[in-house]
C-alpha cells in the first residue's frame, strides 16, 4: 500500500511537470466543448435559393416572399432563366431552384391546379433533403392560404382534415446543444483518458524505465494501479469541468436525473476505458504506435457511437459495431439521465454492459502485460 502511494506521488509529479500535457488536460475540454456543439448543429439555415419566376403575378411574388420570410432561405437570385440558375448551382452559390411557370396565378384560379418545379443540389445530402422538405412545406402552406382566400368557406367543414400539433418531449425547444453537449463531453473524457493512459505506459517502455522498475521488487499490479489511478482521477476532473463549468454555466444544461448516478456510471466507464488504454500499451513498443492504434479506435468509437448519427438508422452490421462500442453506452446514459431524468432502473443494462467491458479490457490487458513483461 505504501508502495502504491509512492508510485502515485511519482506519477502526479511527472504529469504536473509535463508542460504540454497539463494545458491539454485543463484547456482542451473547455475549448472543445465551447466550439464543437456550436458547429455540430443539424438545424439547416441559410439555404440559398434562386427563384425563376416566369409569371410575375401577385401569387408568384407572394410565394417568393413567403419563402424568404420563413428565415430558412436566402434569396440569391430572382430571374427568369433556368440556365442562369443552374449555373449558380454549379458554382455552389445556390442550393435550390424553384421554377414558377408562366400562367401560375391564372391556372390556379381557373383550373384549380398548377405545378411548380423544384431542383435541389444534392451534393450535401442533409442540406438537400431538409431544404427540399422545408420548401415543400412552405408551398403547401401557401396553397392552404390561397384556398381559404378563394374558396368560399363552407359553414360546416365537410372535408375531414387531420390537424397535427406536436410537442417536443425532454427538449421542448429542440435545443440542439442539449443533445450534443452531453455526448461530446463523453467523447472528450474518452479521448483524454485513453490517449494519456496508453501513451504514459508506452513512454516508460520507450525510455527503458520499465526495465529498471521490473528489476525492483515492485509488484506488477501496484505498477498498473499506479498508472491507472492518476488517469481515472484526471478523467473525473475533466468530466466535472465539462459538466459544471461549461455545461451548466455556458449552455445552461442542468441534468434532470441524478448526478450521483452519472458519476457512478462514469467511474465504471473510466475503469473500462483505462483498461483499453492499458491493452493498447501492451501491444505497442513506441508512443507513435500507441498513438496510431488509439487513434484508429477513437475514430470508430466516435463515428459509431450514435453521437452524430442515430444508431437506429445504421445497417445491421454497423449496429453490431455500435453495440460493441463502450462509448455508445455512455452517450446513451448521458442523454437519458441528463435530458430524460432516467433512473437506475432504466440504465440497469448499461451498467451490466459497462462492467463487462471493464472486466474484458482489464483482464485481457493484464494477461498480455504479464506475457510480455
Amino acid at each position: 500500500m505504501r508502495m502504491l502511494i509512492y508510485l502515485l506521488q511519482k506519477e502526479f509529479k511527472q504529469i504536473f511537470r509535463n508542460k504540454a500535457l497539463l494545458p491539454m488536460i485543463f484547456a482542451m475540454p473547455i475549448i472543445q466543448l465551447l466550439v464543437m456543439p456550436l458547429a455540430a448543429d443539424y438545424e439547416i439555415k441559410n439555404i440559398n435559393i434562386s427563384v425563376i419566376d416566369h409569371d410575375h403575378s401577385t401569387f408568384s411574388t407572394g410565394l417568393t416572399q413567403k419563402i424568404v420570410a420563413s428565415g430558412y432561405f436566402k434569396l440569391v437570385d430572382y430571374g427568369n432563366s433556368y440556365k442562369n440558375s443552374l449555373d449558380l448551382i454549379e458554382k455552389n452559390l445556390s442550393d435550390v431552384i424553384l421554377e414558377i411557370p408562366r400562367g401560375f396565378e391564372k391556372n390556379l384560379q381557373k383550373e384549380n391546379n398548377q405545378k411548380v418545379f423544384i431542383a435541389v443540389n444534392a451534393i450535401n445530402g442533409t442540406k438537400a433533403s431538409i431544404g427540399g422538405a422545408y420548401l415543400g412545406r412552405i408551398i403547401n402552406d401557401f396553397n392552404a392560404d390561397i384556398r381559404s382566400e378563394y374558396l368560399p368557406q363552407p359553414k360546416q367543414n365537410t372535408i375531414p382534415v387531420i390537424k397535427i400539433s406536436s410537442s417536443n418531449w425532454f427538449n421542448p425547444f429542440m435545443n440542439y446543444t442539449f443533445f450534443m453537449v452531453p455526448g461530446i463531453l463523453v467523447v472528450l473524457v474518452t479521448m483524454v483518458c485513453a490517449y494519456l493512459c496508453s501513451l504514459n505506459i508506452v513512454k516508460e517502455k520507450e525510455i527503458g524505465t520499465i526495465e529498471q522498475i521490473n528489476v525492483t521488487p515492485i509488484k506488477k499490479h501496484y505498477f498498473i494501479l499506479g498508472k491507472l489511478i492518476p488517469f481515472w482521477v484526471i478523467g473525473m476532473f475533466v468530466f466535472t469541468i465539462g459538466l459544471f463549468v461549461v455545461g451548466r454555466l455556458v449552455y445552461g444544461i442542468i441534468p434532470l436525473g441524478s448526478i450521483a448516478l452519472i458519476y457512478a456510471y462514469l467511474s465504471i466507464y473510466l475503469v473500462a476505458l483505462l483498461g483499453l488504454g492499458l491493452l493498447i500499451s501492451t501491444y505497442s513498443e513506441t508512443q507513435q504506435q500507441a498513438m496510431s492504434v488509439a487513434f484508429f479506435f477513437m475514430m470508430i468509437f466516435l463515428l459509431m457511437s450514435g453521437l452524430f448519427t442515430p444508431i437506429e438508422s445504421m445497417p445491421e452490421w454497423a449496429k453490431t459495431i455500435a453495440a460493441l462500442n463502450p462509448v455508445t453506452y455512455f452517450i446513451e446514459v448521458m442523454r437519458m439521465v441528463v435530458l430524460k431524468g432516467s433512473g437506475i432502473k432504466d440504465i440497469k443494462m448499461h451498467f451490466v454492459y459497462m462492467i463487462g467491458f471493464g472486466l474484458l479490457f482489464n483482464i485481457w490487458a493484464i494477461l498480455n502485460y504479464k506475457k510480455t513483461g
Partner: protein, 306 residues
C-alpha cells in the same frame, strides 16, 4: 559461494535464426569484479537480462546468490542492482527524487545506505535539484550507479557502463568499481573496450553468443599461442597489405601506430626475410619489435580460430 552461476544457457529470440546465447556457462566468485568482454551484438545484454530476471532463457540454468532466475525471481530482484546500457531513469524527476523513488521502491531510504553511495553521490549532490534529463553524460552515469546501489545489493550488474563516456570519466568510473568491490559487492560488468579488461579480476571473452575464454586477464594473454611482433613503416596502409601477402604471415592486424603480426613458423631468419621483403616493396623506416600480446590480440586470435 559462487555469486553468479550460469550453466548451458541458450537463448534465441523469437523470429531469429541465430541464437543470442549459445551454451553459455561460467561462474563468478564472491566479491569478484568480473568482466564480460565482447563486441556489440555478442550477447552481453541478453546475458544481463537473463540474470536480472527480465527475460527467460530457452534452456539451461542460471543462479544469482544461489537463487534460480526462473523460480526465485522475486528474491533475486531484492538483492541485485542493475544499471542498463541505456540511461533509464526518470528524466523528468530530479536527481534527488530519482534516488528517493528507487530507495522507497526497495523499502529503504537514502539515509540508511548513504555510506555506500557517499563517494559517488557527493559528486552529483550539487545538482540534486536538477532534472535527471538535464545532466551531462558522466553525471547521468553516476546517478544511475547510485540508483542501482541504493538498496545495498549483493550483486551489481553493469551493462556497458562506460560506453559513450569520455576517457577521464571512464577511469574515474573504474576507480569507483574498485571501491565498491572492497565493500564486498560482487560486480558483473560488460564492456566492448578491450583496454578495460585488465581492470577486472577475471574476464570472459564473448563473441556471437559463445564464451571463447574465461580466465584472469593475465592468464589469457599468457595463453597467446605465438610470439607477437609489432611492425611500423612510413606507409602504414600499404604495409598492412604487403604484410598480408608475405608467405610466412599467420596473422596481421592493425593496432593503432603498429601492425601486430605473428609468423607461421618459429625460424629465426623470418624477421630478416620480412625486412628484406618490405624494403623491396619500397618501405622505409621499418621497425620490427617483439611485443607482449594484449587482450585484444587474444580476442582476435580466438575469433579467427573459431
Amino acid at each position: 559461494m559462487k555469486d553468479v552461476v550460469l550453466s548451458n544457457i541458450h537463448k534465441t529470440y523469437k523470429g531469429r535464426d541465430i541464437p543470442a546465447l549459445n551454451d553459455v556457462s561460467f561462474e563468478t566468485g564472491e566479491g569478484e569484479l568480473f568482466g564480460l568482454i565482447g563486441p556489440d551484438g555478442a550477447g552481453k545484454t541478453s546475458l544481463f537480462r537473463i540474470l536480472t530476471t527480465l527475460i527467460l532463457p530457452d534452456s539451461g540454468c542460471a543462479k544469482v546468490c544461489g537463487k534460480d532466475v526462473v523460480n526465485d525471481y522475486k528474491e533475486i530482484r531484492k538483492i541485485v542492482g542493475y544499471m542498463p546500457g541505456k540511461f533509464s531513469l526518470y528524466q523528468d524527476l530530479s536527481v534527488e527524487e530519482n534516488l528517493n523513488f528507487f530507495a522507497t521502491v526497495f523499502n529503504t531510504s537514502l539515509k540508511k545506505n548513504y555510506d555506500l553511495i557517499k563517494d559517488i553521490y557527493i559528486q552529483i549532490e550539487p545538482f540534486k535539484k536538477r532534472r535527471a534529463g538535464q545532466l551531462s553524460g558522466g553525471m547521468k552515469q553516476k546517478l544511475a550507479l547510485c540508483c542501482a546501489l541504493i538498496h545495498k545489493p549483493k550483486v551489481l550488474f553493469l551493462d556497458e557502463p562506460t560506453t559513450g563516456v569520455d576517457a577521464v570519466s571512464r577511469k574515474e568510473f573504474w576507480g569507483m568499481l574498485k571501491a565498491l568491490k572492497e565493500q564486498g559487492i560482487s560486480i558483473l560488468v560488460s564492456t566492448p573496450y578491450m583496454d578495460e579488461a585488465d581492470l577486472c579480476d577475471r574476464i570472459a571473452l564473448i563473441q556471437n553468443g559463445k564464451i571463447m575464454s574465461i580466465d584472469t586477464p593475465h592468464s589469457i594473454t599468457l595463453n597467446y599461442p605465438d610470439p607477437l611482433y609489432a611492425v611500423q613503416s612510413d606507409q602504414m596502409g600499404k604495409l598492412l597489405h604487403d604484410l598480408r601477402n608475405f608467405r610466412e604471415i599467420k596473422s596481421c592486424n592493425a593496432f593503432g601506430d603498429y601492425h601486430h603480426i605473428s609468423f607461421v613458423s618459429e625460424r629465426k631468419e623470418t624477421g630478416n626475410e620480412l625486412k628484406d621483403y618490405l624494403l623491396k616493396k619500397d618501405h622505409s623506416n621499418i621497425k620490427l619489435n617483439a611485443v607482449a600480446p594484449g587482450i585484444e590480440d587474444c580476442f582476435i586470435q580466438l575469433m579467427d580460430s573459431e
